[in-house]
Symmetry: C2
Subunit: 393 residues, 2 copies
């Protein structure tokens, strides 16, 4: 049965069409939503854009990541809202509205997997698929008090899902508790190609921690201690190859160019009216030069090598997921932009390096949740989830 009542406004209000799944399986008893970038048979795929929704038509085949959950016995309850073209991190969609943050209703849910995080945090379903390009699972996980993962790039299928920036796009998911998170991870990830050893080498990137204020850092201190008590004391390290600003710039240029290649034709064809922030970012993206993009691409390769060397096969970074708790719903665009720029500086490590990151809801401040993250080597996703379960359990 599909969801009839949606007080969180987490789901796109498509007419309910049953989506058949396996009667039993490892996810029996769990319900799930899917971000409206994934095709689900019987539904359009809107991507948070009225024009994309109009062009969609009704899909007839499920995206493989949706099908995997269905085959495991999870029950589909609806498609969840996303930021427009998934090109935002705050969860405010100028056309469809803002899903309610179940952990802090006076604050933004975060995005672009806003509806998925809203649905899970409001207990409207047990897990939900999201995508994470620059933080679109990790940010709303931190803001809504959820476990969330950005997997190793390419590990979980994004077939029959709308692209944003393919070289960064990943398929992640959310859960309220570590046990459910691990159950879903078993199905979505399977066994690790590069599992972490029993004893990991915990790393604390000083330059990443320097990006956040004293108060959020203090709020996270107890969670860090908990991580250290499970995984061993953290050694200090430096994330940036050149500087965090260089990482930030390279990430934005590469993502912006790809986003413009993917969505620019639609935006130009229809002179698509875009919401605040999204419009400015696409306009900025459209002006990137080939030279800028080429330099950023070289930088990314060097950064990947640097981070792979830093992590080896047993390194795990412990760092804040986001600079702080979610901004208030009343925050203006300028405040959100400033917050976003700082957040991307934290979030771009996993994206640039293509490595997995898990956010754990282990801290609170100002009555709202704040996530602590683990980043591991490529292919260690399931091990990271197990570590998160050992820490959180």
């Amino acid at each position: 049965m599909l969801l009839a009542h949606d007080p969180a406004r987490a789901f796109v209000p498509y007419p309910a069409v049953p989506v058949p799944g396996a009667p039993t399986g490892p996810l029996s008893g769990l319900s799930f939503g899917a971000k409206d970038l994934f095709d689900v048979a019987g539904y359009p795929t809107g991507g948070g854009s009225p024009l994309v929704l109009a062009m969609s038509g009704i899909k007839t085949v499920n995206a493989p990541s949706v099908q995997r959950l269905l085959d495991a016995g999870a029950r589909f309850v609806g498609k969840t809202h996303t930021d427009e073209f998934a090109f935002s991190m705050n969860g405010r969609n100028a056309h469809f509205g803002t899903p309610i943050n179940g952990a802090a209703p006076d604050r933004i849910p975060g995005g672009s997997s806003s509806g998925s995080a809203s649905a899970v945090s409001n207990r409207l379903c047990d897990t939900a698929l999201g995508t994470d390009t620059g933080g679109s699972v990790r940010a709303p996980a931190s803001h809504c008090g959820l476990y969330g993962i950005r997997p190793t790039h390419g590990r979980v299928s994004l077939q029959r899902a709308l692209d944003l920036s393919p070289s960064f796009d990943t398929c992640g998911f959310f859960a309220r508790d570590a046990t459910t998170f691990a159950r879903v991870a078993d199905v979505m990830l399977g066994a690790d190609p590069a599992p972490l050893p029993a004893r990991v080498r915990l790393l604390r990137p000083a330059d990443a921690w320097a990006l956040i204020g004293d108060e959020p850092a203090a709020a996270l201190a107890q969670a860090v201690s908990r991580v250290e008590s499970v995984a061993g004391a953290a050694s200090p390290c430096t994330l940036a190859l050149d500087s965090i600003d260089a990482m930030y710039t390279a990430y934005r240029q590469l993502q912006g160019r790809e986003a413009w290649v993917v969505d620019g034709p639609t935006i130009e064809r229809f002179a698509a009216p875009l919401g605040p922030g999204v419009a400015e970012r696409f306009a900025w993206s459209s002006r990137l030069t080939d030279a800028e993009v080429a330099a950023a691409s070289v930088f990314r390769e060097r950064f990947r090598t640097h981070l792979a060397a830093l992590l080896g096969t047993d390194g795990v970074l412990v760092l804040p997921t986001m600079p702080d708790v979610a901004p208030l719903l009343s925050a203006d665009e300028a405040a959100l932009d400033a917050y976003r720029a700082n957040a991307i500086r934290l979030l771009c490590t996993a994206g640039l390096a293509g490595v997995p990151q898990v956010s754990m809801p282990l801290a609170r401040r100002l009555g709202a949740p704040l996530g602590l993250s683990l980043i591991g080597p490529a292919g260690s996703d399931r091990s990271l989830v197990a570590l998160a379960q050992a820490i959180g359990g």
Copy 2:
């Protein structure tokens, strides 16, 4: 065959689904579009709102007014954009964009039947269905240089069409030339229940003409002479019962209350983000008191009686359709609001009285078209079209 190329962005970009019609008939050879308030089998009905579009599902039955054109041999080419919830007169939809005015591409097309007027003025189809509540056919007809009609209230079916304000809503249509306009009128209107006599009594409402500037009035002078040469000299008369301001207020209150009854539940349920102007109008509508609406309702009854007496069975008002040519695309919301307030003062006569009005593209100014209107007694629609054809032909 459906339209593949839409340089005017007049059509909602739904996947093309063939809509069968009669192989021959009185409208053979004509193509038509239908405003996206009318159901067309195989398509959603979006009403210019992303959330209404999401909720729509695919319709399986044609609206009777669409079916009537198909049965007459006209060929359906697509669904046309509308202002959000049809609650605007300028044609700028914050979610779907602004269709291009084929007669003045640097100016707004007018709305809410913006896409229909755009499609016809850009020669993407020969005729198109629109709806007119407060001017939504007449305004874009004037702005885009088209013939357009607001029929007698209740005369043309609005079944399977989204409501705005049912006691004002009408189903109208557009054409580029008087002959095509008359062909479509034959099919959509049939014979008049109250035809005009061969010799009409032409009336020139001094208070309506006083609403427009000297320059638009001068631009319309030759067209008025042409009307008089066909229909006889116009006698001066006064439209307003109390004052034009009282008409304006009563119209807005009655329309606003109905619009809020119709669309308020959707807007509140989803905290629907509305575009500029539309948001303010719905907010205003939500605050109307029962006492205001009751007084406006009494006023409307008195005005109907007054206008019926003024027109008798042979009276035809000749008046400007709009205060001036279409505002430039660069106009800000404040300028558009001021223009709209003046326009409603001109347009509300036919709406309040439930009588038919035809706008004729007989004047130009500043390189853009300007419409002249005829208003006749209830049930004289087809006669008015014939008069327009005699004048324009």
